[in-house]
């Protein structure tokens, strides 16, 4: 295998081009993969942030952002179903936000009861008691330019109601360009003009010892006019809506696949050219008695070495770029497993790219060694 390594480092410029091609492909795949993972995550992050077992939505709601109000009796009836331990309310609607300087901006206002979930950003939770008012409004740090408050707290207007922006949070930035504002449930329905018993979503916790599936079935039987979904089902439905039905996820996925294909073309051309440049050496190797497996191994090793080096460089390049991109795309997210997983397609890409090269090296006529 020394021959494989020596061949690739002997021609450094060609090696650099190959490694650059792989790095570019890995960069594209990881970046697009991070966009896709981040997009999926963002599409369901508020659902995932709840500690609930079951979500009740109006019939046909496709995503969290597009809920409609439920009748007030839904919550009362749900609370009476055996196995239901706790019911909470969540609402979300678009509202007009007015900055202190008079600039107007459409925002997505989210209100929730304090027990919806520990990670669900609401102000009236015991942990924040004394720090901010129970009716404070929270916003994500990535949306500070859109929210445009000079200091905290700042008085603003939401749907012509006075509101107090009091805290920045992280991880709930604008999704599709509209910033989220979070407040208590009672405050939200006031801003949105909902009735005191209205809710968009009723979220339930199931008591210990009860089966979520059984409770879900009981709820659906008792409330046939609404959709009853487990948290994971609603999160999945929301993700599918944003990724498949809007085409946004498809576009990101296509870009990731294109990154793979572009890399494949670049790498295969370079590896093939490299093989053809050394084709006389492969003929010599065969003439000297090298078995086909050895010849194939030399070509494949060269491809995989380029793949490994290119992958590492591509990953080193993409990590700071993704960090930097967060200021522009707050929902971009690179999970720890994504770079590791991307090594597999990149090495696969190099192996695929080397198929034509291996074929050429294996079929070269060893008798040509006698030509001067």
């Amino acid at each position: 295998m020394k021959l494989a390594w020596q061949n690739i480092i002997h021609d450094r410029s060609r090696f650099s081009v190959t490694v650059l091609g792989v790095s570019f492909a890995v960069f594209l795949m990881v970046f697009q993969g991070s966009l896709l993972v981040g997009f999926l995550r963002a599409a369901s992050r508020l659902i995932d942030a709840s500690d609930s077992d079951i979500w009740i939505t109006a019939r046909g709601v496709q995503a969290f952002e597009f809920g409609t109000t439920l009748e007030s009796r839904v919550r009362e009836m749900a609370a009476g179903v055996p196995g239901v331990m706790q019911t909470d309310r969540v609402c979300m609607a678009f509202a007009v936000y007015r900055t202190p300087k008079g600039k107007q901006q459409v925002v997505a206002l989210v209100g929730a009861d304090p027990n919806v979930g520990k990670r669900f950003p609401v102000p009236d939770v015991p942990e924040l008691a004394g720090e901010i008012s129970p009716d404070a409004v929270l916003y994500d740090v990535s949306d500070r330019d859109l929210i445009a408050v000079p200091a905290l707290p700042t008085e603003v207007e939401i749907n012509r109601h006075r509101a107090s922006i009091e805290r920045q949070i992280q991880g709930y930035g604008a999704f599709l360009g509209v910033p989220f504002l979070f407040t208590s449930y009672r405050n939200a329905i006031r801003y949105l003009g909902f009735g005191p018993d209205d809710a968009m979503y009723v979220v339930l916790r199931v008591s210990k010892g009860s089966s979520v599936a059984d409770v879900k079935q009981s709820l659906q039987e008792r409330l046939p006019e609404v959709d009853v979904l487990t948290r994971d089902e609603f999160a999945h439905k929301s993700r599918m809506y944003w990724t498949i039905k809007t085409g946004a996820g498809g576009a990101i996925l296509t870009a990731a696949v294109l990154g793979f294909l572009i890399g494949l073309v670049v790498v295969s051309q370079t590896i093939y050219a490299n093989t053809m440049e050394n084709i006389e050496e492969y003929a010599t190797l065969k003439a000297l008695g090298a078995p086909r497996s050895l010849v194939a191994r030399v070509v494949l090793t060269q491809a995989l070495l380029c793949g490994a080096v290119g992958s590492v460089l591509g990953l080193f390049a993409v990590i700071p770029v993704i960090d930097h991109a967060r200021s522009l795309i707050p929902w971009i997210y690179m999970p720890w497993w994504l770079p590791a997983v991307m090594v597999v397609p990149s090495l696969t890409m190099c192996s695929l790219a080397s198929i034509a090269s291996v074929r050429s090296a294996l079929t070269v006529e060893p008798g040509r060694v006698f030509r001067a």
Partner: protein, 281 residues
């Protein structure tokens, strides 16, 4: 690998040959394929002893063609040449006479359309590519006009690769490669790449690589054509020494007349047929 050893004694398995050349070849091929010998009367220009030793290395009634239709050419037509063990044979002839084609057959790199090829007592015609590869690996060393060294490997790594190909488990290959290069006066050039060596040095590295693993047969194609007079003489002497000191069988294809004084025998080919030193069907 199943070997098809030819019998060392001439037997009477095949006693009569058909009159036509094609039919004769067919019978001979069948006889060789079956591991039978052809009776000595069928080899009119060879005595019994010569027929026995001829099975070490040679071709029998070999015909080779390339191309199709009007473009078809016949580099060799019914050539029978044998090479005795422990000799240096020189194959000469004008360009296009079939010298390299003959060498390719002896090196298991080309199969004849008709006729037989035997290498180290093995009839190689009907062996699979894998079996032929194994014969090249174990039995034959090659020296080329264009050296054919691996450009990215140093001299010692080129020679070590020769050892590795013949015995992948050989752990001492670097040390053995160094010793071989020392023998050829290249001990101080071990770590130089081929493009840093003179043509004569490159050819000596190529010979060292060919000898790595101690093959009994050495096939050399115009080994001095790219060399100056002194370097050429060195190579002639090195290959001669392989015969005298190690008992190897060396076949050299060359235009270079200097080889005559180093060779035990000269075979001359012309227009795909033997003019001197062998037979034609």
């Amino acid at each position: 690998m199943p070997k098809k050893h030819l019998p060392s004694t001439v037997c009477e398995d095949v006693t009569e040959l058909p009159p036509s050349r094609t039919a004769r070849n067919r019978v001979k091929r069948a006889a060789y394929s079956a591991g039978l010998a052809v009776e000595d009367q069928l080899e009119p220009s060879l005595g019994v002893d010569e027929a026995r030793s001829s099975r070490f290395l040679g071709v029998e009634g070999a015909t080779v063609s390339f191309g199709q239709g009007d473009a078809r050419i016949w580099p060799l037509r019914g050539v029978s040449v044998t090479f005795q063990r422990g000799t240096l044979s020189l194959v000469m002839g004008p360009s296009g006479s079939g010298k390299t084609t003959l060498l390719s057959m002896l090196g298991c790199l080309l199969s004849p359309d008709e006729g037989s090829v035997f290498v180290d007592d093995v009839l190689v015609n009907q062996l699979s590519e894998t079996e032929k590869t194994a014969i090249r690996q174990k039995k034959i060393g090659f020296v080329f006009q264009a050296f054919r060294l691996f450009h990215s490997l140093s001299a010692i790594d080129n020679v070590a690769l020769g050892f590795e190909l013949r015995d992948p488990k050989q752990s001492q290959r670097l040390e053995m490669a160094r010793q071989l290069l020392d023998q050829f006066g290249l001990g101080d050039k071990c770590n130089q790449e081929p493009n840093e060596l003179s043509p004569g040095e490159r050819q000596r590295v190529a010979v060292a690589r060919a000898l790595a693993g101690d093959p009994p047969i050495l096939l050399a194609d115009e080994p001095t054509a790219s060399l100056d007079a002194q370097a050429g003489r060195n190579i002639c002497q090195i290959l001669r020494n392989q015969v005298d000191e190690h008992g190897r069988t060396v076949v050299v294809v060359s235009h270079d007349p200097r080889w005559r004084k180093f060779a035990d025998r000269t075979i001359t080919l012309c227009d795909g047929q033997v003019e001197q030193g062998g037979r034609n069907l």
